[in-house]
Symmetry: D2
Subunit: 433 residues, 4 copies
């Protein structure tokens, strides 16, 4: 790190990259990036060039001594890196479209990070991530791997169990909640304490304090609803919310309001078509903007893309690891006894202090008893799916699908699995050897 | 115990009682019953007299020095008892009818021991059982309480947590499975080793051995199906069964084949009417037989009643406790670390050796990883429902209902709970104070 | 806390008080103390007046709006307090003298915080602390109790188990180690990360990093020895230290070099007399200085008294709790799963982040396997001694004494216990009822 | 097992062998031994022939179709065996002599199974046992390995961690206690229930019941003392025993009465010479008897040899494993959560039921809180010593020695280790590579 840091971004051709670059520029003093390597696969080269050249223009305008490299040679990018971040999508938006629509035809939630769709994404993604880990083990054994690739919790757990890489999973939901609270109460984020209990995309917020004073009770009573852009908003039953005693993550609506959410998804599919295609149109427009040689900053339109704060979360984490700031961030890491009913090597989403040697999870002080069963049910699915992804064992895949709480019966699991494995055949060599 | 044992049977007017009496007669040498007290409530006095007089005729014919007492004075029956067994039904068959039918109108499984129906049964039953425990604490502190009252696992856990009574929960499913295997393989039951993992009415059989040789694999491959009379038979998917690696309890069909089981229940309701009424007709006929003064033995017809082996299980357990036989029985007892993801005081269904000082649970050697999530999800519901039963807190009751895996959404839980609490108002004083 | 904080110092007549007052003055901006109540018992009134008047002169000179109250009315001091700190010595220095010398006559280590001496101190102190807790529960239920009274770990555990007070135990050893490292490496303390594993006065330092770079290995290789003034210095065996893989606390010399330490104690007793009397002479001189009406600041001589940094530790902790700084401090708190072989409510000494709602213990990342047995052996003694202190049961006291690793045999324990209980009769009403 | 069992006895030239042969003859009906292979090393060939020919004469006289083979070819003996038992002594009695006397010269207990002597025995024995395991893995993968070789607990744990063999450790102390109780109360052993808590040679008996009625209290009050022949008898302090609430194993006298036991050992050494030589004289006499061609049964004199019931324990265990009797035996097996403060793969001594698939440990219902520290301290030593035995790492060996509760200081450990490793050089190739 003598003369600054080397950072490799796998999936560097993503439309999010300008936000990340902006973050590096803004935080240069505390996080002196010397080399930024944007990597993508051959199929993504066109997009990589567009977004990469924008990145180069942004850096140039900043006047900072940062070099931006564009490459399809992943190993060269990883070699000697201090941080590797991943934000790629195996199968691209077309695969996402299938993840979201096939389940709907079985009256099952179609979602890209949980349920049968999330499982397919895990089966496609985990082998690729483990392959990246092999490169990091060889070429950058001291690097931190920051994983944004969904399902981030499962991918992180697969790496914990099957690789020897220092890895952290990241999601924008926790930072988003704190931003929302910060705006709502008109205080800076560091005066807010929130405690998260659960897994990635399956958490309950069991403490909310501003300057040490409880705000959770009033939030539950007022049924205030924090909801991300990419999840349709649905009101919570007030009696349920009060007796739950914790703010449920917006992803919990898939579990607590399955019928309504399913109806919404089916209605939306009829009205707007496949959501993945909507996203694709937004992305196409963004790339049109990016290609403008006159543009040398992140365009405003990116903020409406969803996934807000991802880059902020990434830059914050790198900065804290680099400087050892010991601040609290909500991350996906090994459980190590924090939730006493899950194995030590299960990934959980939990408050950590970020030391120079890595994140240390903080104990949870208020675990809603209601949450335990659902957490364990979803973790059971996750563990089975991870083993299926690594082995290509169809029996395990069926067990994973059948034990997901959103899959209503074994018969449905059997049918869904057959159709979805076949639809993903190109990306699942482990199942079609 | 100087001159033989005193046994109190709460709910002694049950149609099962003749089987129990037959068991006491057959096992007199090893279990010398001096006094058998059959207790029932005023509303059950008529049935108590009929079945009680049959019991007296059976004993008389045996020539054994056993006294049969009929009473509605529970405290007198309990005083100084060595064993107290409970087999009563709070709200009688009418309440069971409501437990089974109200959920069906919401497209939810209607079942008397699990789901919303089982929960109502728990809310009605737990306070009554704890009241009986108060009497035992005072009048027979050394007695063993053998609890057959469903949901047996939840009732046992409530007693573990809220009473100071030596209590064991009993179910006929494990003994039934061993009987079936014994017949199938043509060997005596003591040459068969089966390992149960899970909760009452929610177990997986993860080891089956005859003379120490594995039979589980062939059972899974042949999809052989052991099913009790009172659960409609449904075939398991063969791929699912093989990859599950354990024999699922027939109650698991409610969870793994929810749609089929629901359709069956709705069809049966249309064709045969409410199952509780079918049972009532069978019972009425049995009591007609019992009332015949010429009858002095258990009539054959009782065996078709379902609930087979309940009395055998009870007598076996009393005999082993009395003699300290150290044999293995599958019982509902405190977890105490056997399932490392559940609290120490959660009730589980597990192999135990029965010592004179009580049952000691054996470690489970093969926990199917698939089972953990569902076990924990159902245990979460059970714990919430027990707290609701003890406190009468509607918020807790809603949480319990909403977190039961068979309840599809919070909205359904809200509506079901309102209707079912109201329908059970007469038996739920704690909710209508 | 509207207009500043109220702080009650039990044992306010201690010679350490001027350091604490200096700390409050220096940190006024972040810790606005409005009222400082120094409390002592009748026998300590003379010293309380001397040190209290010095405190008043110090505050006056500072010009801050802080009031210093001197009182023997403990309840008035506690009422409405934000922080209560305790630094008293039940039985005063005379009792300490007995704690240190009686064991020596049995060839057993005589030490005021561990071994038979520490046990007597615990038996005398715990009931008094629990009595203070009764006042706090009633008069200041939101107060934080900061306990410096030794044996601080045991006293903290007694409070965790037998009172309903927010309590933290404090020791100066961890802050002392960091100060020493700070000086040695010429960097500010916040750039140093140390991980403590164990109990109060029984810890191993298993990580030492400066700016995230390991320094433990070189410290172990160079056999550098950090030792407090009040513990005679003894060199560690270099092979032992390297293979131990952690820096042992200087109190561990009593366990690892028992023979040498015992010989030193016996020699020192012959040469210098009872250490408690040496301390008494130092204290007498301090109080002579304090009584000088011209003195209005902490005299330099106090720093040679031992117990350095106690006040700094106290003020730091209050400041962090008040402001919710989320910084890392090494404290004595409930284990809560951090050391997986100890009960949840055992007190341990561990790194915590200090939030506004209290300290959250950080996971230990490197537990020396060697440490587990000794930690558990000493904790076993501690738990027995706490139960003995609360109940006055001589059988428990004998078990505690006999199971302390520094007591060589049951026979010695029997004899020591008899003599020491008798010598402490005036302070142990629970054993002489 | 079609035509009877094959049994291999490693260390078959031991003087205990006739007792074992007698056991096989007596239990032939339930344990049909077809081939008994007595194996020994070249140095033991003379003894093997003497004892082996006696065994052959014993079998001949019994008229049973059992073949006795004598061999130095270990692999041939193991090939296809159903049971392998080990009872050898690496370094023979000369090594034991050194184990017992070198520590005494440092004023440390000299004992062949615990303390520095036991540690040396572990260092010599573990690699040899693991080597035998390699043969079993290859030549008899379904065999049960019954290990009598001391320190039996440590050897069993080493096998659990470093081999893939079904192994059980055995000690005669538990069966001896039950025999003593059986004689004392005049009842058969199956009417006695005893619960053992702890490790091999470090257990507390926390329940004693005859026909389910507590006898522990009276045993503790009467200070009755069960003591094996090979441990000098010392009275327990009555107050200590009562407040301990459990019967301590006679080996616990080394820990609870260290000074007395040490004095006894030093006195005995002066008077009688090295105990190992006393044993040698007894053995020489036994072998003189064995060599008599007229002898065809176990001579009475063997019973005075100490180690009573070892053979009975072995035959009982084989018989129960072979028949799946599900009876309770006290064995050394993997902890698997029984003692919640020790790792799952630590060996403990615990009641088990012996099923056809192996022993299942029973939960302990009454763990004396006093025992935890000492159990964990000794287990810590054991774990370090096992790692030292496997790796030959001197640093680990020093840590093991220094953390044994019977070793008074690090300095003593350093000196003892140097001298004892050197004295055992011929049997410790791993330390002298």
């Amino acid at each position: 790190m003598a003369n600054g840091l080397k950072i490799a971004v796998i999936g560097g051709g993503s439309s999010y990259t300008p936000e990340l670059v902006e973050g590096f520029i803004r935080n240069y003093e505390q996080l002196p990036v010397r080399e930024l390597w944007l990597v993508d696969i051959e199929e993504g080269l066109h997009k990589l060039n567009i977004v990469g050249q924008l990145a180069q223009r942004m850096v140039e305008q900043s006047g900072l001594p940062m070099q931006v490299h564009l490459t399809t040679d992943r190993r060269r990018a990883i070699e000697g890196a201090d941080f590797v971040s991943t934000q790629m999508r195996v199968g691209m938006l077309a695969a996402r479209g299938r993840d979201e629509t096939i389940p709907l035809s079985y009256n099952v939630i179609g979602q890209e990070t949980t349920g049968p769709g999330g499982m397919m994404k895990a089966l496609r993604t985990i082998p690729v991530l483990l392959d990246i880990c092999r490169d990091i083990e060889e070429l950058a054994p001291n690097a931190w791997l920051l994983n944004f690739t969904n399902p981030a919790g499962m991918v992180t757990e697969a790496i914990l169990q099957h690789a020897n890489v220092r890895s952290i999973g990241l999601c924008n939901a926790p930072i988003g909640l704190r931003k929302w609270l910060s705006g709502k109460y008109g205080v800076s984020a560091d005066r807010i304490y929130t405690e998260f209990v659960g897994l990635n995309h399956l958490h309950w917020v069991s403490r909310v304090e501003v300057d040490g004073v409880d705000k959770l009770t009033e939030l539950l009573n007022n049924q205030e609803d924090y909801s991300a852009k990419n999840v349709p908003q649905q009101g919570w039953n007030p009696t349920f919310l009060r007796s739950l005693g914790a703010l449920p993550s917006y992803y919990l609506k898939y579990f607590y309001m399955t019928d309504k959410m399913l109806a919404d998804q089916q209605k939306a599919l009829k009205q707007d078509g496949i959501r993945a295609e909507v996203v694709k149109r937004v992305e196409d427009e963004l790339f049109k903007l990016y290609a403008d040689p006159a543009l040398s900053e992140k365009p405003k339109q990116l903020e409406q893309r969803g996934g807000a704060y991802y880059s902020e979360a990434a830059v914050n984490l790198m900065r804290s690891l680099y400087n050892g700031t010991n601040d609290i961030q909500t991350l996906n890491v090994a459980n190590q006894g924090v939730l006493d009913f899950l194995p030590a090597d299960a990934s959980i989403e939990v408050n950590c202090i970020v030391t120079k040697s890595g994140p240390l999870p903080l104990p949870v002080t208020n675990v809603p008893p209601q949450s335990k069963g659902l957490i364990h049910a979803v973790k059971t699915y996750e563990q089975l799916a991870i083993r299926a992804a690594v082995t290509g064992d169809r029996g395990l895949a069926l067990q994973a699908m059948a034990h997901h709480p959103l899959v209503p019966s074994v018969d449905t699991a059997v049918a869904l699995l057959d159709e979805m494995l076949e639809a993903n055949r190109a990306y699942l060599p482990q199942f079609f050897a």
